[in-house]
């Protein structure tokens, strides 16, 4: 009996997660997301994946005991994972659970039982568990290839709704259109597409690593000069292609995807800024949204007819950035002596104060109170510079905003990158690692910290200014703590202190919810889960910062060691 317990425990956990996901409404919501057209929805995948993962974990745990042990553990996990949902249905059908749990309705129970009954539930879960257990026993490369292939199919299916409109732009080109529609149906990936994509990704994944190894071997066999030449060429070509691609992007994809890219860009700007404050200098600023708000409101106040100023954007932008910088310094001064948790709370408080003030009646005549400021002109095209290609529409089409955002992102990346490897950047890292030692080395703590705040604030101010002209209005409600948290999760996911990490984080956390509306209800829940899981498993993020030293500088700032008072 005790032999079976580890597997059962994992299975029960998976079942509990299923029940939780059902009760919060995820199971029902996901049913709207079709992955394989007319065949599989996200819910199906969720309900099968959980027991499968449980089976895989159980099998892996029991594998030292041999294949038989592993498979039986997986089977046990499968059975166990069906128990909690079965209990839920049993209880739910006798008692009025829905008075308390809003999602516990008859539809949910039907879904959990696959529309047939308890046998179906147990059957599917046992089969999934066994499959997961078997896969876990396969050799590593094959296993990884299977997972990659499955993920690719699911991802494509989920994004089919987005890719179709882009495809239709190329309707004229038969090759693209025909293959595209063959693979992507109206509502997910087609069955043909599933087979093709699965096979393709599987093969690529299997042959990918060996191919890369062979390339590396070839590379190291050449002379040192040739090596660095190749590397530089590769890097240069990469940059060139990326920048060229970015420049023509609006022409390649439709206006809705560009809208998403705009949003990603704005968050990249903010992410780069917060990356400096949190990642480089180690100051956990939870009130970051305040600078964003200040940038946006400054532009609003200066350019909208609200106060009668109606200055051009070119003038308002530098003022906005300056205002944000000043705010950054003002915020930085009282918190110079605080650390870690206190710093986080105080900055959070500041962020909230700014929002409360913006919303209050006290400053209503300047900031518009709860109604905010509207009719901000989309004047970032520098007056006469509007691109005739997209036409002059009010509000400006997303393609037009794209170029200023792209420009500022590139500037921000450049600034951040240069700062990182400059004296100031090293000073920040030193302050992050150990303040007292840094001070002992002659680093001016006050100046360094204030510069971190100021630089971070300036980038947020930039982003805020852009969003004000993009959206055309500013409301205090849109500058809450949520945004600070959003940016924080973004850089944590990507990797604190890592510049490419910001891009990864922004793509995942901003683009995905936009693309997959069915997730939007659970966005913040997933953010919370991401934070916890990341901290528990991979605190250095998905694309960790490379550090000048070979120490563990990738992790969020370590606390000073023994003896240092904080």
């Amino acid at each position: 009996m005790t032999r079976l317990w580890p597997g059962a425990r994992i299975g029960l956990a998976a079942g509990a997660i299923t029940v939780l996901a059902s009760l919060i409404g995820m199971v029902e919501q996901f049913a709207k997301l079709h992955i394989v057209a007319d065949a599989l929805t996200m819910t199906d995948i969720l309900l099968v994946a959980l027991p499968a993962i449980a089976g895989a974990l159980a099998s892996r745990r029991a594998s030292p005991g041999g294949r038989g042990e592993a498979i039986s553990a997986a089977l046990v996990a499968g059975v166990a994972s069906a128990v909690p949902p079965a209990l839920l249905v049993l209880v739910g059908r006798s008692w009025p659970l829905q008075a308390m749990f809003v999602n516990a309705g008859a539809d949910l129970y039907d879904t959990l039982l696959w529309g047939r009954g308890y046998l179906a539930l147990f059957g599917v879960d046992i089969a999934a568990g066994a499959a997961g257990g078997a896969v876990a026993l396969l050799p590593g490369a094959v296993r990884r290839a299977l997972v990659h292939a499955a993920v690719a199919v699911i991802a494509l299916g989920a994004m089919a709704g987005l890719i179709r409109p882009i495809l239709s732009l190329y309707r004229g080109i038969d090759v693209i259109w025909n293959t595209g529609t063959a693979v992507l149906g109206g509502d997910g990936i087609t069955q043909l597409g599933t087979a093709v994509v699965f096979a393709f990704v599987f093969v690529v994944s299997l042959t990918g690593q060996p191919a890369r190894d062979r390339f590396d071997q070839w590379l190291t066999s050449r002379s040192a000069a040739a090596q660095s030449g190749t590397r530089t060429f590769g890097r240069g070509a990469g940059v060139f292609v990326t920048v060229a691609g970015l420049l023509v992007l609006p022409f390649l994809i439709g206006s809705y995807p560009i809208e998403i890219v705009d949003k990603v860009g704005l968050f990249i700007l903010m992410g780069l800024g917060l990356n400096i404050v949190v990642g480089f200098a180690g100051l956990l600023d939870l009130g970051y949204v305040a600078f964003y708000a200040i940038g946006a409101y400054t532009v609003g106040v200066l350019t909208a007819p609200f106060l009668g100023l109606e200055l051009p954007f070119v003038v308002a932008l530098p003022v906005a950035i300056l205002a944000a910088i000043v705010a950054g310094v003002i915020l930085g001064i009282p918190v110079l002596k605080t650390h870690g948790d206190y710093l986080a709370i105080i900055t959070l408080g500041f962020g909230e104060i700014i929002r409360i003030l913006a919303q209050s009646d006290v400053l209503k005549s300047w900031l518009g109170g709860a109604q905010g400021i509207t009719r901000i002109p989309p004047s970032f095209t520098l007056g006469a510079f509007s691109l005739p290609v997209f036409g002059r529409v009010d509000p400006a089409p997303p393609q037009e905003v794209y170029y200023p955002i792209l420009l500022f992102c590139l500037i921000a990346v450049y600034i951040t990158w240069r700062l990182r490897y400059s004296r100031l950047g090293r000073a920040w890292l030193a302050v992050r690692e150990d303040e007292e030692v840094a001070a002992g080395l002659g680093i001016n703590l006050v100046g360094t910290k204030l510069l971190a705040f100021a630089t971070g604030a300036s980038l947020a101010g930039m982003s805020g200014a852009l969003v004000a002209t993009k959206v055309g209005s500013v409301f205090p409600a849109s500058f809450g703590l949520i945004i600070s948290i959003n940016v924080l999760v973004l850089i944590i996911l990507g990797g604190v202190g890592s510049i490419p990490g910001v891009f990864v984080g922004a793509l995942v956390l901003v683009a995905l919810p936009e693309l997959l509306r069915e997730f939007s209800d659970f966005r913040l829940l997933l953010y919370g889960a991401v934070l916890v899981v990341m901290m528990l498993t991979r605190p250095q993020g998905l694309w960790p910062a490379s550090s000048a030293s070979h120490e563990e500088a990738d992790e969020p700032p370590p606390e000073p060691g023994a003896g240092a008072a904080t």
């Binding site: 409404g25 180690g282 709370i345 408080g349 104060i353 209800d521 901290m535």
Partner: protein
């Protein structure tokens, strides 16, 4: 920086003087404000105790404590709802034939008993939540650099908020009114609403119990030992893991109890209700001196009164329109002031020695 603090204080004094001299409010009204502040502050104090206990032992802010508070309060709402219905209404709701039933709801016939049940239930739910949090999210990270557990706590906070939103819905639920607690009583010439009296009374009882627990029992002694020096306490044979678990449990239970009291005062619960009280309770804990149990109680009361009396007292005097909008800003402002003038809090910090 000192200048900023002095300027702020000057503004406060000036504003207060103006309001008082203008005589806009009678003494009775001021007393109403104060009593309201005390009852609200009691709730903050109970929540603050959770923060301070955990910080004293682990030197971390349990950012998700506000959600522990919310979890208990929100779940208990359903129990309260159920107990506010008489047997007859329940039968009618289920379309059962009207047999011999009582037309009196338990909440009406035995209000104090029902309240006790609610408090105990809420405390249990919150306790369980706190324990799960500690076990899953905090224990594995106990030795990690300090920022990591903090970020985890933030993540846990959001996760809990939206889980409860998914479970119970995003609407605001109204706590059932307790008929026996309508009206006010006069105590030493001061008018106190019955609900406020119950809240203050319950809070005082719980705080006294906690104080005795921490000071007089062996477990309390263990908690104090671990919060002074974890390693040495372990050497003395104290089970550190268990003690930390108990600390979280106690803090959680108090927060849960506070949840029911909150429901009594404000009459509503919703998934986001933990955020502001959580922040304010933390401010209160810092005010009193983080890690300091009497400090947290004092801080909570002080904050409650400041929030209640403040807007009318000095903001109005300064000519601020709709001063009560800035009520929350007062709490944050207090935090900043404390950290400028007296960072160790009113009664002094009490945190573990860094090894």
């Amino acid at each position: 920086m000192i200048t900023t603090g002095v300027v702020l204080l000057a503004l406060i004094v000036y504003g207060s003087v103006v309001t008082l001299r203008s005589g806009t409010y009678t003494t009775a009204q001021w007393l109403d404000f104060v009593v309201a502040g005390v009852s609200q502050g009691s709730v903050y104090a109970l929540i603050a105790l959770g923060y301070t206990l955990v910080y004293g032992i682990l030197r971390m802010i349990n950012f998700a404590h506000g959600e522990v508070f919310m979890g208990g309060a929100f779940t208990t709402y359903f129990v309260a709802q159920w107990l506010s219905l008489s047997e007859c209404s329940r039968q009618a709701a289920r379309d059962l034939p009207a047999g011999a039933c009582s037309a009196v709801a338990p909440l009406e016939s035995h209000p104090l008993l029902v309240l006790l049940v609610l408090v105990l239930f809420s405390a249990s739910v919150s306790l369980a939540l706190a324990l799960v949090l500690e076990r899953v999210a905090y224990r594995p990270l106990r030795d990690a650099p300090r920022l990591i557990p903090l970020i985890t706590a933030i993540g846990a906070s959001f996760f809990l908020q939206y889980t409860f939103r998914g479970l119970y819905g995003s609407g605001i639920k109204a706590y059932p009114r307790v008929p026996a607690l309508e009206g006010a009583i006069m105590v030493f010439g001061v008018r106190i609403l019955r609900t406020q009296a119950v809240v203050i009374g319950a809070a005082v009882l719980m705080m006294a119990a906690l104080f005795l627990f921490v000071q007089r029992t062996k477990t309390g002694q263990a908690m104090r030992a671990v919060s002074e020096d974890k390693e040495v306490a372990a050497l003395m044979g104290i089970d550190v893991d268990r003690t930390i678990g108990i600390t979280f449990a106690v803090g959680g239970a108090l927060a849960g109890a506070a949840g029911v009291l909150y429901g009594l005062i404000f009459g509503q619960v919703h998934f986001f209700m933990g955020f502001l009280p959580g922040l304010k309770a933390f401010t209160a804990a810092v005010l009193g001196g983080i890690g300091n149990v009497p400090g947290a109680m004092l801080g909570g009361l002080f904050l409650g009164v400041a929030e209640s009396v403040g807007p009318s007292l000095f903001l109005e005097g300064l000519g601020v329109p709709s001063p009560h909008q800035l009520k929350d800003a007062i709490a944050f402002g207090l935090l900043v002031l404390v950290l400028i003038f007296r960072p160790t809090g009113l009664l002094g910090e009490q945190v573990s020695r860094r090894a």
